[in-house]
Amino acid sequence: MKKVFLLAIVLFVAAIVPVFAQGEAETGSEGFVPSKDIEWFVTSSPGGGSDIYTRMIADIMTRKDLVNGQTFLVTNKTDGGGEVGRLQVSRVKGGNIADHTLLTFNSGDHAPMVKNTANRIENFTPIAVMAVDKQLLYIGEYSKYASFAEFLDAIAAGQNFVIAGSKGDDIATYELLVEELGITQNQISFITNDATSDAITSVLGGHVDLVMSKPAAADQYVVAGKLTPILALSETRFTGNLASAPTLSEVGPYDNVENPIWRGVVAPKSMSAEAADFWSNAFKAVSESEEWQNEYINKYKLLSEFKGREEASAFMQKFQEKTLAALGK
């Protein structure tokens, strides 16, 4: 009986000690330190661009021991085109859970959210913007025209063309391009695909004339000579094997068309200021790390552009205003 009693005490102490230890960790250090698993929501499927981005950051944070040895639980929440996950995060009540909740948030998430729901950036705490991506137009190997200028001449002669691209950001860029060129959406029409890879498939098969893609998705095809970049949708030319593509102002009497696609992170609105500062700094540390530059930015040909809490907040706010204005809301 005594033994059982002793065992009970030992077990009790063993169970209680970590609780105190944790309490101490929280109060002992200044500000916020993660004290439990971090739930990180991604509103697209595993394996896609956003998912890779998220897991990459989580991996670097874990490797660099930025999160007090806690674990990231990446949850892919794809219901309602991602709107359900975003709404859920925006509604997390304050407290410890809110301080341990993150949401991957890109321009490709922000635009449809504003368009299709009443959810707004004001319902979140912006944490950081990590990187910016831009697009180019490419032709396939069997294309009749070798440059964007030739396409424009053909359009002037009454030809119509089709650009294939992905959802969200690509559509917005396409609309900017058509507007700047001063032509109708019939003269160059756009086909929305679920993913850029589908768009590339259709240009490789010769079914459409042009494809819009970010550098990463098209890279291998450029190397293999299956795709050729003919227009940089950017203020300046790209580098490396994309350097041959001129910007729009080089092609003719137009302004450059650029619609930067950003990748960021937000948290529930109810996240405490200390926690938000902690996370913003953690993301900054990732952004400055060599791993991030080599394994993500350089590999996928993005531009590293870190914006901290305040800056990201102002940036996303501005993006939302622009999107709303474009929608006439």
Binding site: G47, G81, K115, G205, V208
Partner: protein
Amino acid sequence: MENLLHLFEGFSILFTFQNIIVTMFGAVLGLLVGAMPGIGSLAGVALLLPLTFKFNPTTAIIMLGALYYANMYGGAFSSILIGIPGDGPAVMTMMDGYPMATQRNRPGQALLTSNLSSFIGGFIGMVILTFMGPLLADIGLKFGPAEMTALLLVAMTSIGWLVGENPTKGVLLTMFGILLASMGMDTLSGYPRYDFGNIYLLGGIPFVPFVIGMVGFSQVMRLMSERHKETKISVDKLSIKDSMITLHDFKRLFFPAIRSGFLGTFVGVLPGAGATTAAFMGYAVQKSFKSEEPMGSGAIEGIAACEAANNGAAAGAFAPLLALGIPGSGTGAVLLGGLMMWGLNPGPLLFTNSPEFAWGLIASLFLANVITLMIAWGVIPFLVKILSVPTRLMIPVITVICIVGSYSTSNSMYGVLIMFISGVLGYILNRTGYSTAPAVLSFVLAPLLESNMRKAFIISQGSLGIFFEKPISLVFMLILLVILLFPAGRLVLTKLGVLKGKKN
């Protein structure tokens, strides 16, 4: 010949202790994941992916390839034994597999039929992949929106084989399936459709919960009304020997499996059409051939046709993935994401830059095919025991499986709700003499048809000519025309006395 040499090189890479172990591990896991309703290859590969980052890429893809491939075997288990498809491709297996196991009292033979046909279909797919991988990928590229539209229209007519005795009811349910599939975000314009202001409906009706409910949970409800009936299945047949099929059975499965293996491989190569579509088409094509017993009543031909097709498709889907870096399915997309994370560049240069990787993977598919067949064969006697569990105990167990499966597709109760609603609906439809198969098939095909057709019209600026100008789509349109006019033509010819009206 050169390809054969490459394949042998692939085998030499494969045959290390570590790689064989991971192939076996992948195969076992694939069987399990496939057998669990709702958790298909997509979830399995996605869950396992993070684990593989520490491996070298070849070992990692060998494991995932084996998992993906074995999954096509596993899906059939629950279809045949409990009447709930383990994953999308296994929906059609249920049509004949479940009756064969329960009504014809040949569960072991049904499982073995499915395993052997999977093996044959997969083997055909792999041989084609080995010798014509890049060529196959190029053929896939030729299928643009216009060609896909024409092909899908032909595929849609195959619903005609599934409508059952009452064509009106069949057509009605086909339309119902199309209507349900059109809910959610419009993929081309991004506008919400039939979302009724509900944020969940923005994403549409998820396929897996819908199918689990429609064909699975509706079965559970039927079982509830029959719960006091004692199970009639004798379970003394527990040895592998007793689940052997006869030579006659093998003859019945062989030709449908060969036919479907080729068909499935081809469908797997096409952009956007995966193993599920392949299984549907394999089954529908089989319907137009002779079968010894009527299809849908437990015919061996039915099981063979769809199992061989989905395994063929699983192998075929690797052609565009490896040769061009184009994923043919959701699972393919996850594998592609994996390739990038392992530091490889998927794309047209993969065969040139990392041949050991590409050929190692193809070789591992061959090995996985053999290993999975052996494991699947070996577990048949144990699996068959499931049937001896009394119905009243099976009901709660299957219900839990249905719930877990539909929850896991999007990690939310929304899937569970959809599963229950479509389950009740499926039950009512079954009771009132409607077959749910047309609804499920049109639910799968309609979104593909819609997006391809609209893309084709954008390209042609609204002209129908696009379907008749290109040779491939023209051929399919002609086939479609023949299929549509055939019944009318036959009627006319019979009336005129040219035909004796005894066909079929």
